[in-house]
Amino acid sequence: MNGLKKLINHPEQVVEEMIEGILLAHPGRFERIEKTTVLTRKSTVQLNKVGLVSGGGSGHEPAHVGYVGEGMLDAAVFGEVFTSPTPDQILEAIKAVDYGKGVLLIIKNYTGDVMNFEMAQELAEAEGIQVEKVIVADDVAVEDSTFTIGRRGIAGTVLVHRIAGAMAETGATLQEVKEAAEKVINNVRSMGMAISACTVPAAGKPSFQLADDEMEIGIGIHGEPGINRTKIQSSKEVASILVNKILADFNYENSEVAVLINGLGATPEMELYILNKEVQRILTEKNVAIYKTWVGEYMTSLEMSGVSVTLLKLDNQMKELFAQKVNTLTFQE
């Protein structure tokens, strides 16, 4: 062993061994494309729908494999820890889930992810497959700018999977599924914070250090430093920082929203629910109506301790799609 405080065998084998463990745990759910890090949805019937592919670096579990199944994704592509998967892997996923109606790629807005998925898209198109992509950029911690890569995609991505997945399941066209996904992207915003960092297994030491009384605001999901470091504050104050930053960016007043309180890895459910209470109090004060809430771990950052808050403004179409059946490891509704 390597002395790392992790329950692993070898830091460079974690993704492969995780995939094996997932397949052993859920033999009925997934199919692995041979010699790849792609898991696809196992279906007893011949599917006739738009295929949905997502993925990215590992270390965000249950993303993305937890969203593969009826009503959500058709394939998840695993990259190395915090490293986008490569075009050849993504291409295999696209080929596997092209049921004849084309494939939609749901990409989080990171340079690496965008480039690798785009290259795969080009390769697939060259093979005659119809491929579209959407890019999720929900993190209001990062400035929205045309000069930079812009905002990161974080936990809001899960809601894109959910809505696009439900839309695809109705038999909608690639263009319709893409539009549904884009509507979510345009109406979803997130913001996160951490009280402790995480350690990439192969790196062997934490990505940053926080003192015993510090927290980091505006953290991403890759152990990147955030935008601002402060003294640790109460759940009430944290909720107010996160929600106010989101509300300053997008007007959710007098609308109905879905709320996702996402734990980054080590934060106990107890604390997530306490934060939820504070978030909902603020939203109610600001005349934002809460239609639906999820509290749990949806898009993590290894063993980072922290949370993100996501708001999505709903319309009738989205509400109908949220009511549709979903059957994945993480969502069963």
Binding site: D88, T111, G112, M115, N116, A203, F208, G223, E224, I227
Partner: protein
């Protein structure tokens, strides 16, 4: 100078050794303003590259670089995988069928830069590895390669200069002005790559 198949292979072997040795340095740099995987990505990628080219026969250095491109594309991932993959692919395209002298090498590097700019939607001066490639290109334009080791100094200076820049592309851009004061990890990995090239050329020159 002329870049031969053996030299191209040797270039990759030396690069692999450098990435293995300096994995921690790259990790540290990427942890400061990125996500900490750059050293791991490069070490993994070049290990695969060396394994790949060891099992293949090549007639021309362009073929070696094409193998390198394909392998990096398939084994690195992240931002650096597609960028370095594109760079080697474009270099290979330029070199194809030609004797790789200094002029061809410079053209190859320019074409690599064009490809990476397009792929990364980025420009010189945004605190990325492009900055290093750009200065290597200028150097090849203005100097003859009688002392290849000068490339190392050129690259070192660029890496040092990236400290002063605020990143506008890649993960480091999320930090806004907090990215200033840190060297760009990708520039550092490009430094190792050109350092390896310089050593190969130097060896050849002194034979």
């Amino acid at each position: 100078m002329e870049l031969t198949v053996d030299m191209a292979i040797n270039w990759m072997e030396i690069a692999r050794d450098k990435y293995k040795e300096n994995k921690e340095t790259l990790t540290m740099l990427d942890q400061a303003i990125g996500d900490g995987d750059h050293g791991i990505n490069m070490a993994r990628g070049y290990q695969a590259v060396v394994e790949k080219i060891a099992e293949t026969e090549y007639d021309h250095p362009a073929d070696v670089l094409k193998s390198v491109a394909m392998t990096l594309m398939a084994k690195v991932g992240g931002a650096s995988g597609p960028l370095y993959g594109t760079a080697f692919m474009n270099m290979s395209m330029v070199m194809k069928g030609k004797t790789v002298d200094q002029k061809v090498l410079k053209e190859a590097i320019d074409h690599a830069i064009t490809g990476m700019k397009q792929r990364g939607k980025s420009e010189i001066g945004e605190k990325t590895l492009l900055d290093v490639w750009d200065q290597v290109s200028s150097y090849l334009d203005s100097e003859d390669l009688s002392e290849p080791k000068e490339i190392i100094e050129v690259c070192q200076a660029v890496v040092e200069d990236t400290k002063q820049i605020q990143a506008t592309k890649g993960r480091a851009s999320y930090l806004n002005e907090r990215s200033i004061g840190h060297e760009d990890p990708g520039s550092m990995s490009s430094f190792y790559l050109f350092e390896a090239l310089a050593e190969v050329l130097e060896k050849e020159a002194t034979v």
